[in-house]
Structures are given as structure tokens and as C-alpha cells.
Amino acid sequence: MTAHTEATVAGKRYSVSVIVWMTVYAGLIVAMSWAQENDVISAPWIYVAAVSPALPIGAVILAMMRFLADSDEFVRLLIMKRYLAAMGLTLFACAFFGFLDQYTAVFRPPLWIVFPGFWFCFGLVSPFIRSST
């Protein structure tokens, strides 16, 4: 397999992993919301089920790390710059809404939105970060 093909395979594997695990993540959130509203799960299983949507996030983070490891130096640096910028924006948004809630109690977004929010920020910064330098 050539280096170019390997890079393409790594990119495809990463994309498929992210799509699959984010679909599982969304599915678990929908299922848990339904289960909570209809009161179909009781303790102690409710605790296990409640944290289950966090597991796909761990899988996506592992896929991100594997993609970085499989990429060449340019792609690795580029993606890392985008991750850092997206993380910075996400942390800023968390602090912004955290203080808004702390002092005004106007708006309290759920914590689970942080991870999709990170991907939103990643999409937002990517067109502006096209260089590794």
C-alpha cells in the first residue's frame, strides 16, 4: 500500500469512526431521554444507562488519536492546530455560558452539548486554518 493510499485509508477510517460513534451517541441520548420520560429503567441500571452516551465520546477521542498517529507530519500538525483552536473556542463558550448562568441564571445549556459544540467549533475554524505553520 502506498503512502498516499495509507493516508486516504486513515482519513476514511477516521471519518467512518466519527460518523458511526456520533450516530451511536445521538441514538443513546434519544433513547435515554425517552427512557427517562417514560420511567422504564429503575435503579441501579438507570445510572449505567445514564452514563452510556459518554462511552461513544471516548471512542471518538480514540479515533481522533489514531488518525493523528496514522497521518503524515503536515496533516498531523494541521489537524492539531484545528483541534486546539476548536478546544479554545469550546472552553471560551463554556466559561461564557458558565458565568452567565452563575450571575444571572438566564441560560443554562446542558453539559452534554459540549462535545457536539466542540465539533461545531472545529467546523467553524477549519476553513481558516489551512497551514501547519
Binding site: 502506498t2 503512502a3 498516499h4 493516508a7 503524515d72 507530519e73 501547519s132 505553520t133
Partner: protein, 68 residues
């Protein structure tokens, strides 16, 4: 980092994918090198020099070289 990569590649009638394969990197990496969007590591710079059979400074302009 300014370089002669595109000219050297064109002289050999190689595509970006051809050069990427010889260097063991992605085509995006070759494109980024040619368009000055990536400064190569020392290892990659030596690999590029090896592929073209030239010295690194014959391919990449040394921005730190002092005028004599």
C-alpha cells in the same frame, strides 16, 4: 519556507501523488509544501533532498543564511 519543489517535480514530469508516494507522505502534504503552507521537518527535508538527489539548501531557501 520558499522552495523549488514544484519546478523540480515538473522537470521530472511527476504528479503531486507521484512525489507523495516517493516521499511517503500524503498528496496534501506535497501540495502544502509547494504552496508554502508547511515547513518540513528536518527528516522530511532530507527525504526530499534524497528523492531529488540534491542538497537540502538547493531545494529550500535558507531564511537564516547571512549575506556574505
Amino acid at each position: 519556507m520558499k522552495n523549488r519543489l514544484k519546478v523540480l517535480r515538473a522537470e521530472r514530469d511527476w504528479t503531486q501523488a507521484d512525489l507523495a508516494e516517493r516521499l511517503g507522505v500524503s498528496r496534501q502534504a506535497v501540495n502544502a509544501l509547494e504552496t508554502d503552507r508547511h515547513a518540513p521537518s528536518l527528516d522530511l527535508a532530507y527525504r526530499i533532498a534524497g528523492v531529488f538527489g540534491m542538497a537540502v539548501e538547493a531545494i529550500f531557501e535558507n531564511p537564516h543564511r547571512r549575506a556574505e
